[in-house]
């Protein structure tokens, strides 16, 4: 079956370069509004909104993640997926919007809630599902699991399980890009709780000090596990932390996939053109519990709060725009949904049929047997 992720990423007129001659430098460190107030130059906004085909691709990608994650919950419940499993439902607009702006040779690195970014980056649904099932055809050969998805073919540098731990790694990727004189960019996804971690400070300070092409993308879903942002951070407008590093920042509405794409394009332009890092605070919301063992609501957030946020479902937001702009119909939606469901079923079947890793794999890849 055709892999929608890959086909989308390779289709024309999607790369950040589309922004063309924009000289947008409007990012304002003090800016606290959503992206609709960004006032960026028209060309990036236009490129970000693109045409009906782009919007359809973004919708398709978000829907793939949504349906994929729903099946993950089901697989977890019947024991096909084990360990920790953190779902991306509600946050699809963030990963899809940001990654849609990247070039194929850019790098993506993420935390442990990374199924969505992995799919958006182009790891096949089959390879991700097989990894979650702990099977040999998984993108990490079944040895990483939900929190450690990797794929060298699409420059997906992993799912990392220690909060904040991958931020300095992203800085190092930026360092290597600059060392080689390249013009790639590294995009680093992490939750808002990581900004309270020392690694955040160390990573951003060096990236700004050395002017490295890295976009630090905070997925502010309001809760670090069960601890609300305002119970953990002395500053609630966390993009303001960029001031400490004299780093450009922007606050973005994460439920608007096109706004995320536009903000990412602006950050990419700074990173590629001037080797300047950016802190993007993308405000979103997680519709599920922290992990599969966490109730959706009840302890640290109310049902009412959850329902209020679910009104701004990123899929619904884009779909409504498409109904207005592109004449998108319920029939179109049903057709797409059926297609995606079939794709995810195929991924499930593939994963289920894939063998467990052979026992010899236990001692493989501890060390490599080479020198250079």
């Amino acid at each position: 079956m055709r892999d929608v992720s890959r086909s989308r990423r390779r289709s024309p007129a999607r790369a950040a370069g589309d922004a063309g001659g924009s000289n947008s430098t409007t990012t304002d460190m003090a800016q606290q509004q959503g992206s609709e107030h960004n006032g960026a130059s028209g060309s990036i906004e236009a490129a970000a909104k693109g045409d009906a085909a782009l919007r359809r691709d973004l919708l398709r990608e978000m829907l793939l993640i949504r349906r994929f994650e729903e099946r993950c919950a089901e697989a977890y419940a019947i024991g096909k997926i084990g360990g920790f499993c953190h779902l991306y439902i509600g946050q699809e607009g963030v990963g899809v919007g940001a990654i849609s702006a990247l070039r194929e040779d850019d790098y993506v690195i993420a935390s442990y809630r990374e199924h969505g970014q992995a799919l958006a980056r182009g790891i096949s649904a089959r390879a991700v599902m097989a990894e979650l099932f702990g099977r040999v055809d998984g993108c990490s050969k079944g040895k990483g699991g939900s929190m450690h998805l990797f794929d060298r073919n699409v420059n997906f540098l992993g799912g990392h399980g220690i909060v904040g731990g991958h931020l300095p790694i992203a800085t190092g990727v930026g360092f290597a890009i600059k060392y080689r004189g390249g013009d790639q960019v590294c995009v680093c996804f992490f939750g808002e709780a990581a900004v309270n971690n020392g690694a955040f400070h160390e990573a951003l300070n060096m990236a700004a000090l050395w002017k490295l092409p890295v976009i630090y993308l905070i997925e502010n879903n309001r809760y670090g596990m069960g601890t609300a942002l305002e119970r953990a951070s002395a500053i609630n407008d966390i993009a303001e932390r960029a001031c400490s590093y004299d780093m450009p920042s922007e606050v973005v509405d994460g439920q608007d996939v096109l706004a995320v794409r536009a903000a990412t394009m602006r950050a990419l332009q700074r990173a590629r053109g001037e080797s300047i890092p950016t802190l993007l605070e993308v405000r979103t919301y997680r519709f599920m519990g922290h992990s599969m063992s966490d109730a959706v609501s009840g302890t640290y957030r109310t049902k009412e709060e959850l329902e209020e946020h679910m009104k701004r479902d990123p899929i619904v937001v884009l779909r409504m725009m498409m109904e207005q702009e592109d004449g998108w119909t319920d029939a179109d939606m049903s057709k797409l949904d059926e297609e995606i469901k079939a794709l995810v079923q195929d991924a499930w079947d593939f994963a289920d049929a894939s063998p467990e890793p052979p026992l010899e794999a236990l001692y493989e890849d501890v060390l490599v047997d080479t020198t250079s």
Partner: protein, 327 residues
């Protein structure tokens, strides 16, 4: 044959490997403008420039992670810790990222990088600056660990570490930097990882040791020689992977073993060596294996207490006599 310091041997290794491979760079605190806290990188900023000899803020976790990221995309970083005592802040990157990424990515991301710096106690630096970390580091699958005790091995092991496609820990010693030894000038000095060396031949007792303790073992062997006891010194040089054959060969010859290490006894690397010997050399042993190590206390400042805490030649001689049933 030139006689050079351990410090200069490391400097030669760094410079030769950076000349050989432009993916190799040195990063750490004070490695550039200051010329190295212990002058190991003297002259390198001038030779290679600031992109390849990179001064960092005091941010061990951060720049260890920068090394990991650079290694993931194909560079070959050498991360210098001013001392391994400060590296504890960086262990999350060393353990969770450098050591495990190859495995958890199913073999996709080798981590060709070196973490190096002085390890263990110097003189009167007190508790926080006087710790030997090899037991912690050798414990971790996915890392190689070397601890050179001579200038020749320092040069040869560091060069091999830089060429190896795995994360390699290089444990140097502040008290070793000024020590001198023979290092040939006009030939390539490369010591393969994983190979021990018999530094002194003997028939009566085996000292199994590494790093700074090789010097202590030598002093002990000299004293024992005066009493007609011939001690053999097996310098492991690489702790992980450990050269088990070299240990077994020596123990089968002397039938008595003393494991000499700089760090604490509890769960120390020496316990791992002793475990191997009792399991694989049981029939060769004429006495239980004895360990010499730092006393199990934080390192005290006072000169007399520090001396009492450290493993030394006197303790090593006593241990040798114990396994020979002479005391």
């Amino acid at each position: 044959m030139a006689i050079i310091t351990y410090r200069d041997a490391l400097n030669q290794a760094l410079r030769e490997e950076m000349q050989r491979d432009d993916r190799v760079f040195l990063m750490g605190e004070e490695v550039g403008v200051y010329q190295g806290a212990y002058k190991v990188s003297k002259g390198m900023l001038q030779e290679f420039g600031e992109m390849r000899v990179v001064d960092t803020p005091i941010t061990e976790l951060g720049f260890a992670g920068v090394g990991v990221g650079a290694a993931m995309v194909g560079l070959r970083p050498i991360i210098e810790f001013m001392t391994w005592n400060f590296a504890l802040l960086a262990l999350d990157q060393v353990v969770n990222s450098a050591a495990k990424t190859l495995y958890m990515s199913g073999g996709q991301y080798p981590m060709a990088m070196v973490f190096r710096g002085p390890n263990g106690a110097a003189l009167q630096l007190s508790a926080q600056h006087s710790q030997a970390w090899e037991s912690w580091l050798a414990h971790i699958p996915g890392l190689k660990v070397v601890a050179p005790g001579t200038p020749y091995d320092a040069k040869g092991l560091l060069k091999s570490a830089i060429r190896d496609d795995n994360p390699v820990i290089v444990l140097e010693g502040e008290m070793l930097y000024n020590t001198k030894g023979e290092v040939p000038e006009n030939e390539e000095v490369v010591v393969p990882l994983g190979q021990a060396e018999v530094k002194r031949e003997g028939t009566d007792v085996s000292f199994i040791t590494w790093g700074k303790m090789v010097l202590v073992a030598n002093q002990a062997a000299e004293q024992l020689a005066k009493e007609n006891i011939a001690a053999e010194i097996v310098d492991l040089r690489t702790l992980s992977p450990m050269d088990v054959d070299a240990i077994a060969t020596s123990v089968s010859k002397t039938n008595r073993a003393v494991v000499l290490e700089e760090g604490w006894s509890v769960a120390g690397f020496g316990a791992h060596v002793a475990d191997f010997i009792q399991r694989e050399c049981f029939d060769d042993l004429d006495a239980p294996v004895v360990r010499v190590h730092q006393e199990d206390v934080p390192m005290p400042y006072a000169k007399n207490l520090e001396r009492a805490a450290k493993p030394d030649a006197k303790k090593a001689v006593a241990a040798a006599k114990k396994v020979l049933y002479l005391e």
